[in-house]
Every structure is written in structure tokens, then in C-alpha cells.
Amino acid sequence: MLKEKKELENLAAYCIGKSIKLSATNCEVKVGNIISETVNLRNKKIENSDRSDILSINITTYINKKKSSIFFTYIDDENTNVMIEKCIESTKLLPDDKFNSLPNKKLLAKDVEDLLLFDDTTISNEKKLEYLKEVEDAALGNRFISQTNGSSFNQSKSNFIIANSDGLLSGYKKSEFSSFTDLVAKKNGSGMECDYYYDSKVYLKDIIKPKDLGNSAAKLAVRKLNPKKTKTESIPIIFEKRISKNILGILSSAISGSSFARGTSFLKNKLNNQIFPNNINIIDDPLIKKSIYSMPFDKEGVKSEKIYLVKNGVLKNIILDSYYSRMLNKESNGRASGLSNTFFEPGKHSYEDLFNSAKKLILITDTMGAFGNATTGEFSCGATGIYFDNDDFYPINNFTLGGKIEDIFNSIILANDLEFKYSKNCPSALITEGLVVGGC
């Protein structure tokens, strides 16, 4: 049974009381209980089951401008005391840092809006197995799928509270249901290729139909079969949606408060400057209902609201927590936990238009390795894709993409096919120039 709010609050109150008694001037406590149950199926047979029940506590103590933190899985009150003593002892020994303190009280979340992040329904392991069997029946129904690498269904429920010595006490329950399948494709004489598909939802009833999951993954794996090699050249590139979302990943590393304050971002001097073409808008909205990536407040208890990161191509906001916002002389925008639901506003072109823009281009269906380096601004990764040469097309693999991140930003053209599936969402994207394909 998931621990009730009252029990978590009591633990938090105890920790704050004890810390203050032991000379902390301020204190923040997070208490969370997560119960998660997963079943894995492989080739239509159960492979494993896993049940997890963890109660953990995270405490940060302040003595004026000194700060230290401690994380532990709960054992008993006696151990909690030992942990707090240890934390206070460390705090005392640390040097002052003038930017250390709890968040500005005005910014703390008080009335938490219900974002519909908890579904009371539970799904038994038997039902999970039935679902997964349907997934694998569909997948293995494809004659080129030779076996499955595993399919899993997870139900995870958590209850979490955050409290601090400035009177903050907030929390909420979360649920997440997710399903996943990873398939191996093989044609006569070909090598093996694999690919996967997954879905993750707050509400059980919203999860993808098992047949669709199996069929989607099968399509992805099969289209990789019998890849050719490709030659080294500069050529227009289209990133599929599940790859183009990584553009927001590298942007988020490059606009983190820490990388701005510490001078380690290649975009450090670009706030209020053009970094994308002027038809590009990027939004981060933590308050979307029923999204597993939503959060009414961040991990410091600061209220989060919808913001434009990029408006008309101009970088308008960066990702700020309390510490780095003080260092940069700004206010926290409730993003100590990073971004939430981030998306590009869709472009005007249809997916087909992107393909009609050039006679030869490469659709990137998968990448390996880091999608760019946010410090140096360099971009280089391994890739898999489909080569479109006039009316012909064929799968290719084992090539690289190289260039600069700013080349991708500068020449991006978006399709109108945005969908909300991940924490970061981008329509299919055409990169007209700047990327070099490295092959044989």
C-alpha cells in the first residue's frame, strides 16, 4: 500500500524539527514512497516479475549560508537521527556560499492545482501478461519479426511531499503506466536488426492498444533490414520525430542556469538574441493535465508556469532554480527539476513537403551517442536512416553525422506533425545544410 500523505508529513516534520534542534538555521525535506510492479514477457513467455517498494528521504540542511544534503532509504527513527547528525556535522564544516538559501517565500507553491496526475486504478500482473501477449502476438504476426527481445508492462505509483522550515508543505500522488516492446527482425540471409516502441500514460485507460504497440515496433525494426552503407557527403537531413526531440534536449543543456552562471554553455551570451529562424517558437508548459511530465511545482517547491524559451527565434528564457537565479541576478522560474513538457510550435509544411524539398536526402531514424556537446557547440553522433534518392529509397546504417549545433538551429524547417508523446516534442525537422554524413 502506498504510504498516506499524513505518514510522509509526519516523517518530514520530524526531520525538520530534529535538524533545527541540532542547529540548522533552515531545512528542506523531501519524503517519497514509490511502489512499482513490472512484468516482462519474452517470446510470449513470462521472463520476470519485479516488485519494488521504496521509502526514501532527502534532507538539505542550512546553517546560515552553509549547506549540505543527505539521501537515504528509510530504516527507522534511530537511523534517521544518525543521518541528520551526519548532515549537520558536514554543514558546519563547509565554507559559506552567499547564494545558498531556501527559495524566495513568495515563489513557493501554496494552492496546488490538481493536474490529474493520479489514477487509482491498478492492473494485476495477470492482466499485464494478457496485454503483453497481445503485443507479442501482433508483433510476431509480422513474418519478418524473428523473436522478441522482451516486452514489459510497468505500473508505478508514488506519493511525495516536500516541506521546508519556511512553512512550505506540498505534495501530490502520481501514477504512471507504461508498456514497451523490443523486437528482433530478420529476413532470410539478412543480419538481425532491432527496434522498440513504448507508451507511457498517467491513466491506465489511455495506454496504447497492445496491437498498435506490437505493430508499430515491428514496422520500425523491419524497415532497418538489409541496410546499405553510404558515402561521405554533405546532404539535407530529415530528423524523424523521435530523433528531432533531441534538439530540445541539447537546447535544454545549453540553457541551464548552471551552464550560464558557470560560463560552460556555447549559448552563454545569447539571451535575447536570435538562435533559431524567426518562425520558431519553443514553449515549456509544466501544467498540462494528465501528462506524466507535468509538475505543479519544482523540486524546491517553487511554483512552475508556462514560459516561452524561444519566441520568434529569440532565446527568451533559460532554466532557473533558486541558486543559479541568485547568481545571475534573476528570479527562479520553477525549473529546479529541469524542463517539463517542452515543444516546438508546429511548422507550416506537411511531412511530404519536407521530402519534396530535395532530390536526395537522408531520413534519420536512430542516433547513437550524445546528440551534440552543449559546451563546445560541436555535433557528432552515429546514425541509422533511410536514403531517399529520387524515387528510390533504402535503409542505411553505420554512418555518422557531424557539424555544429548552431548549424542545426539555423537551418531548421519544421513540419506540421507535432504530437505530444515525450517530455520534449518536436515535429519532423528538415536540416537543409551544415551536417556532414560520414560513411565509407
Binding site: I54, L55, L94
Partner: protein
């Protein structure tokens, strides 16, 4: 040894009885108890940012029938939790009526590291002082150094494994690591360097003045070298890898595909190649979990099996996969001491320990001299692999362009890619300078991170380089 039954309503005798009642009618399984403490102190931006103290405490109970695993874990070690876990395991495995219970294990008394607690080797104050000295030392090397992050992380992990019949095994696993990363800036150009050291020996053997200066000097050298680096070339070419950390090539390109779970699942690109020649005869690859004091070494693995030297590829012939108890059973092999888990929240699986390639005959100079156009990789970053297709990639931090047998200019921004079965055939020359890495490797698989070691002599291999210069 930690006494996990001191402060709970569960006695050791009761725990052993529940283990027997649950597992005697299963093929395999164990109760895994863990108490880990970890201290991390980070200096960044010229000041101590934070100290983090983490305690991971709990148990994981596993039952195995044929190829099915039921696993249950919780932070509360008490009677109710263990009984609940037992019920959950029985529920998953209830359809198995016949079983072959096996609790035999290969034990060892050999100690590859002493039972010490590196967290207590120095006081927090002394560690802060070291980090401040490190920061001053690096910044004094050049005023182009704009950012320094240095950290000291120490850990003591105590584990106990209880199998049926009251069989218990335990180990205390110390681990120290010291890391540096820095940023240099010249004009609008940012460059990075990073290096580290660590392992399971005494704290002072890693964090002493001589050692930390070497780590700083190497990180600085990497960042400084890239200040004048040109764009890396793109395309297939000869690559000369330096010795040591370049072993990440082996780890990604070959190591993962030789893990036993991918053998019984038949998903490894090498699953049907045992006994076949897969590379040239100079190539011998070893995974060795029982090297004294190293980061990837363990007295016993996370199933209680003793670790050992496993020759995986011998003179180009694939001879062995790495196994945990499950993959060994399913493929009719013996366990190889490679059953590892990050912590009690995970069931074990076959993982690497210290993986390296044996020496060949060539010198690095000979290799460079033999290349008309290619790159010499001076510092590799991390990598990853798709074990099904065998495709791997890794990032190059520092490299030189080789033109007509000579190193000409530093180049940056490259990825190396290839496929394991192809690349092993394209290793053309192997050096006589095998070196193990400096002790900072961490390997991720299915969401679990474990410390590993790597090593390789210098090698020359034909690969695809992903730069941006055509």
C-alpha cells in the same frame, strides 16, 4: 560485517527459514542484503558546492524457475516485508511444478582488497582542503582556464547473500574516485578536458599529491590541445588508438555482445559463433574480475560466485561468453563470476568486470608511420552499442590528424562508429604496450550502473570517423 538483523523483528534464523521455504522448490535464488554509504564532495566554480551523503539500505529477494525470474525488493528489512516478498515470488512462479534446486556455489577466500572504509580515511575538512588545492593548481596553469569541477567520491558497500541451507556469503566493497573536469576559453572557443583516478585500494593510493597532479595535468592537456584543434575529417580511414582507456572500444564493440544473457536469448550478433574464428590471430580478449584492487574487481559477484579470469577470445577464436548463474544454467556452462547488480533494487545479470586485450608485437610509432591519412586518438570519451546489429559508437575527446605517417594537427568533434563483427576483422596492428585504464569506468546496462575496468594496447584499426570536414 554488517549485522542486518540487529535492529529488526526479523532474526537471522527466521530469514533463513523463509529463504528455505521459498526457494527449496525453485531452481535458484537468494536473499540479497545491502548497506551502502557514499560520500561525494564537489568543488565547482571555485567553491565547495555541496556535500552529498547517501545511504542505500535494503533487500532484494529472488526466485528462479527455468528461465523465469521473480524479484521483489524493498528498503525495509523486516518480517512482514520478507513474507510479502516470498508470496509475490511464489505467485509469479506458481505454475512451475518440477524443479532442480541448485545452491552450490564456487567460493573463495582470496581478498582482492582489504576491508576498509575509504570515507573515513580523511576528515571532511582534509578532503575540502585537497579540493581547494587542486582548484588553485589547475587555475595557476593558465588564465584561459575558466571553470574547474573536482570531486572526491568514496563508498563502502556491504552485501550479504543468503541462500538455502543457511549458506551465507558476504563482502565489503570499498571504492574511491577522484575526478577533474575543466573548461578553457580562448576567444569564442570553449574546450573541455576531464580525467580521473580510482579503485578499491586505500584512499591515499589514489588521492595523493603526486597522483592528483597527474590527473589535473592530463585534463589540462586535453583542454589545451583542443584550443587550436581543427575540424575532424569524416569517412572511413585508419585510426590508431592509444593504449589504456581506448579499451572502451573493446568494451562496447565486443564486450557487451559476449554477455551470456544475449547468448541464451540468441540476440547477440555472436550468439552462433562460439568456436569460430572472428578476428585475426593476434587478438586475445580477457575479462578478469579478480585483479587486485581495481575498480572493476570483486571478491565475489552479486550472486556470491567467485570472480575469475575468463578468456573470451583466444588468438582470434571466440571461446567463451560471460555468465551469471542463470545464463550459465540455460546455456549449460559454468558461472564465470560475472553476475552483477547495481544495488538491491535490481536482479543480477551478466556484466563485465575488467576487460582488456592482450599485447601484440607492434609499437605505436610503427602504426602511425604506416598510416597515409587517418587519425590518432589520444583521448576517447564514452560509447554505446546495439548488441543485436553489433553497431557501436564512441566520442573522441582528443585526436590528431595523421598525414603521411606523421601527426600534423589536433582535430576535434569526432565520433567513431563501426560494427563489432566487422571491426574485429579490421584490427590490423596491435601494440606491445597494454595498459589498464586509470580507474574511472562506469558501465550502464538496462538502467543499472556498475564500476568497470578497461584496457588495451595501442592498435591500428579501419573505422568510420564522424567529423564534419568532407
Amino acid at each position: 560485517m554488517d549485522n542486518f538483523f540487529k535492529k529488526t523483528d526479523l532474526t537471522r534464523v527466521e530469514a533463513e527459514k523463509i529463504v528455505d521455504d521459498t526457494l527449496l522448490n525453485k531452481d535458484d535464488g537468494e536473499l540479497y542484503l545491502q548497506n551502502s554509504i557514499n560520500e561525494n564532495i564537489t568543488l565547482d566554480d571555485g567553491k565547495i558546492k555541496n556535500t552529498n551523503f547517501t545511504k542505500i539500505y535494503g533487500m532484494g529477494f529472488r526466485g528462479v524457475c527455468e528461465d523465469v525470474t521473480a524479484y521483489c525488493h524493498t528498503n525495509s528489512i523486516n518480517k512482514k516485508s520478507l513474507i510479502d516478498a516470498s508470496k509475490s515470488i511464489n505467485s509469479t512462479l506458481r505454475s512451475f511444478k518440477s524443479y532442480k534446486h541448485n545452491n552450490s556455489i564456487r567460493r573463495t577466500n582470496e581478498k582482492l582488497y582489504s576491508d576498509h572504509n575509504p570515507i573515513e580515511a580523511k576528515s571532511l575538512k582534509e578532503k575540502i582542503k585537497i579540493l581547494n588545492t587542486v582548484d588553485q593548481y589547475i587555475r595557476s596553469k593558465s588564465n584561459l582556464v575558466k571553470q574547474v569541477t573536482a570531486s572526491i567520491s568514496t563508498e563502502k558497500k556491504s552485501i550479504e547473500i543468503i541462500k538455502t541451507g543457511g549458506l551465507t556469503l558476504s563482502d565489503n566493497q570499498p571504492l574511491t574516485s577522484f575526478r577533474i573536469s575543466l573548461l578553457m576559453k580562448k576567444g569564442s572557443k570553449n574546450t573541455q578536458g576531464s580525467y580521473a583516478t580510482g579503485g578499491r585500494m586505500a584512499f591515499d593510493s589514489y588521492v595523493n599529491e603526486n597522483n592528483w597532479k597527474q590527473v589535473c595535468d592530463e585534463a589540462f592537456r586535453q583542454a589545451e590541445m583542443n584550443l587550436d584543434a581543427k575540424k575532424a575529417p569524416a569517412g572511413e580511414m585508419d585510426v590508431v588508438l592509444n593504449n589504456g582507456w581506448s579499451g572502451v572500444l573493446l568494451h562496447e564493440a565486443l564486450g557487451h555482445t559476449l554477455e551470456g544473457d544475449f547468448l541464451y536469448k540468441k540476440t547477440s550478433v555472436f550468439h552462433d559463433q562460439i568456436g569460430n574464428k572472428i578476428g585475426n590471430e593476434n587478438i586475445t580478449v580477457v575479462d578478469e574480475g579478480n585483479i587486485s584492487g581495481r575498480r572493476g574487481s570483486l571478491n565475489m559477484d552479486d550472486e556470491g560466485e567467485k570472480t575469475q579470469r575468463n578468456v573470451l577470445i583466444e588468438n582470434g577464436k571466440l571461446v567463451k561468453f560471460m555468465h551469471d548463474r542463470l545464463s550459465a544454467k540455460l546455456t549449460k556452462n559454468t558461472p564465470t563470476g560475472n553476475g552483477r547488480r547495481e544495488n538491491y533494487m535490481f536482479a543480477p545479470m551478466p556484466r563485465m568486470t575488467n576487460t582488456f586485450m592482450m599485447n601484440g608485437k607492434n609499437t605505436r610509432e610503427e602504426m602511425i608511420k604506416s598510416v597515409k591519412k587517418g587519425i590518432y586518438v589520444d583521448a576517447l570519451g564514452g560509447g554505446s552499442v546495439d548488441i543485436v546489429s553489433g553497431q557501436f559508437n564512441f566520442a573522441v575527446n582528443n585526436a590528431w590528424l595523421i598525414e603521411n605517417g606523421k601527426l600534423t594537427v589536433p582535430v576535434e568533434g569526432a565520433t567513431l562508429i563501426g560494427s563489432g563483427p566487422e571491426v574485429i576483422k579490421k584490427i590490423e596492428m596491435i601494440g606491445n604496450d597494454l595498459k589498464l585504464d586509470n580507474g574511472f569506468g562506469t558501465c550502464g546496462k538496462s538502467g543499472q550502473l556498475v564500476p568497470v575496468g578497461l584496457g588495451i594496447p595501442s592498435c591500428k584499426v579501419l573505422m568510420t570517423v564522424g567529423g564534419s570536414k568532407t
